[in-house]
Structures are given as C-alpha cells and as structure tokens.
Amino acid sequence: MATRGIDFQTLSLMDALDLAILIEDEAQERYEDFAAQMDQHRTPAAARFFRLMAFNESKHGEELSARRAELFGEAPRAVTREMIYDIEAPDFDEVRAFMTPRQAMEAALASEVKAHSFFLAAIPVLKDAGVKALFEELRDEEVYHRELVTEELAKLPPDSAVSDEDFVDEPAPQ
C-alpha cells in the first residue's frame, strides 16, 4: 500500500472523490484478475467470491462517481491511477491455486483492514473540512465492510484439516 505524488494537505474535495473512485477501480480490477486466475487454476469457489467482491467494489465506485458528477460535473480529473498502489486492492501474493473460500475471504478482509489504515493515517494530515469528512466516511465504511466479511467468515464451515501444502511433492530426482 503506497501513494506517489499526492499532497494530502492540499487535496481538494474533487481530487479526493476522484482518488476514492480510483481506489475502488483498482480493487475491482484486482478482484477480477484474481477471479480469472482462480478460474484458470480450477478454484471455482474462490473465483465466485472474488467476482462478488469485484461487483461490490464497482458498485461503490459508481456511487462515488455519481456524487462526483453531481458536485463537479465533467471537470477534468487531476489525479491518476499511477498515484495509488494497492490501497484497497488485495496484494498480488494473497492468492494461491486451490485456495479455500475461507482463505479468499481472509485475503479480502486483509485488504479492508489495509484500506482502513490508509484513511486512518491520511485524516490527521488533511486540511480541507470536506475532504476530512469524506475520508472519515470512507474509513467508517471500511469498518463496516470488515464486519460484513467477518460475519460471512464465521458462517463458513472450518477448512479441511488437509491443506494444499499436503499435496506438494518433495523434489524427486529426474
């Protein structure tokens, strides 16, 4: 999780909204990529879950886009995707072939925690009251998302005692 070239002290509400939209875009894209990887590696349950997460991220992105359009119309965007790195998108190394739905949910949970930490760390630096209110709202949403995923995790039956590591062969001579 990192940013490049963002001055949080001078961030305007329009830029903050754009940033929030880009964060959702990045997460949506990563979940879609994860779903495709799971499909390719015959892990359909995790693929379904990652698709659901991608849908949720896109829904949230659309809500933010609507707010942005209402407040600022078609004003050109000053922030770009290149300024953010894995804010809400789960890290690339969070997935494995044959991961269980529980592991997939744990990966999503870790990314919600990560996004929460991002907003939490940024808030004290912000000067604009509107931006501060937006970041506080986003921070609280991450808490809500975390609770949702935690509830879903609790509903899952425990993973099998056999892990995918048990299927890894010791190196055999060739």
Partner: protein, 291 residues
C-alpha cells in the same frame, strides 16, 4: 518518432490473461512495467519488448507493446538487432535468471560493452519454475531441488556483480515488496541512455522457498537511497552488490554520471558520415554491372 503524450498504465495492458501461478511475483512486475511505461509516455506501437523462455518470459504478451517471446537465452541479441534496425524504438528485454545468466549469460557482456540503449529486466526467482523446479544459476548453495537431492554444491551467480564487473552503466534492483520503488526504478532504467539492467527479486510461489516469498524478502530489504548510497560510486555499488543473497538492496546501485555513447547512436553517426559520399540509390546496382 511521435511526440510523447499522456498514457495511462492500462494502455499498456493487453487483453491476454497471465497464466502465472496465482500469487507469483511476476504479476507485480508487469504492473510496475505498465506504470513505468505510462510515466515514459511512449505509445505502445513505439515499444518493442523481447523475452527468452521461461515463466517470466511470457511478459511481453501481457503488454500492448510489440512483443517477441523468442528463444531460450536469446532475448538480448534479438533486442539488439531490433534496436539497430530501428533505433527510434524503445527496446526492452526481459527474462528469468536462468534465461539471462545460464544459457544467455554470454550475451550480456557484449550489450554492456557496446552500451546498447536497451533496458534488460531479469525476474530473478532462483529456480527454473516453468520446468518444475530445477537449480538455476542464482539458486543458493545447499538448495534442495529435483536436480540437487542432497543440496546444491555450486555457488550462485551474483547478477548484480556480474553486470557491474562488465561495466554496465546502469544497475538496479527492485522487488514486489516495494511497488512504488519498482515502477520508479524501471522508469529510471528506461530513461538511462544506454544499457540498463534491473534485477527484480520476484518470488516463485510454487517452487520458491519460504524465505524468498514477499514476507521473507521484506525482512532483508534495505533501500539504497535511504542508506545514503551514492549511485555514482561504482566501487561502493560493487561492495553492496556482494551482499546479494543475504541482503536485498533496493534502488539504483550504479548510474554512470557520464554515460558512454551508445552503439546504436554510433552506428547512426557512421551511416550518416559514409552516406555523404555514397552514390545515389539508383546507381548502386551500376557498381556491380559490367558495362
């Protein structure tokens, strides 16, 4: 050559879905390349991306640049040919540690001494992953694999020291543990006027050892700029490069403050000079025809 204009990272992402193992470090590397190319701003059709053979050598296909997934170990000679044929292209070469430092090891020296304006990205995972986990030239001594049942008896190649010793003008290391740094390092390598080498510690999630995964790499990472390393100091760079395998230094080890002219540039100059006295194209055949 067209003027640079605004491109975004997504403009360099192809519609082909990577088939690397989920969690592979190369997913981060390709993202770093998209971002670096966006920062450079050259349109995809002005970029040629050549690779050898291996998991990481699939990378050109995942970009919108012209790509050539070539022959094992031969990405550099092919990249060199492309650069000489069309010097206006931005030429990248990529591959794994086996591709670059085993079968292709002999080519590196010559691109370095010629200072070809090519950026060479090696995804170093210390294993032959595509062929299911054999020793590679950068595997640590003692490593147990299917071709070393009782542990490797060989010392690994040190890629950083290797290229520094041959006189490379730009030598850097990056890792998926620091995405911002990786994209910035690749960008800086591309901007360097000459042969630029970036070693990326990219973990193999299937055959790599625990210590070589992201968490393990984070534990041994140190940022060269934060350490106060002067990238103009070649001897200091060589000193730090000796810690390859124990420490993971990230950033620029060496950037020649006075880069030598590039071979492709010199060839262009020579062509321009010789063509002044050359007969017109229409008369060239006359030289070979008896009248």
């Amino acid at each position: 050559m067209s003027a640079t204009c605004e491109f975004q990272a997504k403009d360099y992402k192809s519609s082909l879905k990577p088939i690397w193992c989920p969690g592979c470090g190369d997913f981060s590397v390709v993202q770093g390349i998209y971002r670096a190319l966006a920062a450079i701003g050259r349109p995809p059709h002005e970029i040629a991306f050549v690779s050898g053979i291996g998991c990481s050598s699939r990378i050109p296909g995942y970009t919108t640049a012209y790509g050539f997934n070539s022959v094992h170990g031969r990405s550099l000679p092919i990249a060199q040919g492309i650069k000489l044929a069309n010097p206006d292209l931005l030429v990248l070469a990529a591959g794994g540690d086996g591709d670059g430092f085993s079968i292709g090891g002999g080519h590196i020296a010559h691109l370095i001494r010629r200072n070809m304006d090519i950026t060479y990205i090696v995804m170093d995972n210390q294993i032959y992953g595509l062929t299911k986990g054999q020793l590679s030239p950068t595997s640590q001594k003692g490593r147990v694999t299917c071709t070393s049942r009782f542990g490797s008896l060989e010392e690994p190649v040190n890629p950083l020291l290797y290229v520094l010793a041959y006189g490379a003008g730009f030598v850097a290391q990056a890792s998926p543990t620091d995405l911002v740094g990786m994209a910035a390092t690749i960008e800086e390598a591309i901007r360097y006027p000459g042969f630029a080498f970036v070693n990326i510690q990219s973990p193999c999630v299937t055959y790599g050892e625990e210590a070589q995964q992201i968490k393990g790499l984070k534990a041994i990472s140190e940022n060269l700029a934060a350490m106060g390393h002067n990238p103009a100091d070649r001897l200091a760079a060589m000193d730090l490069a000796q810690q390859y395998g124990q420490k993971m230094h990230l950033g620029v080890f060496y950037r020649n403050p006075e880069p030598a002219p590039t071979y492709d540039g010199l060839v262009r100059e020579r062509q321009a000079a010789l063509s002044k006295n050359a007969p017109p194209k229409e008369q060239i055949l006359d030289l070979f025809i008896k009248k």
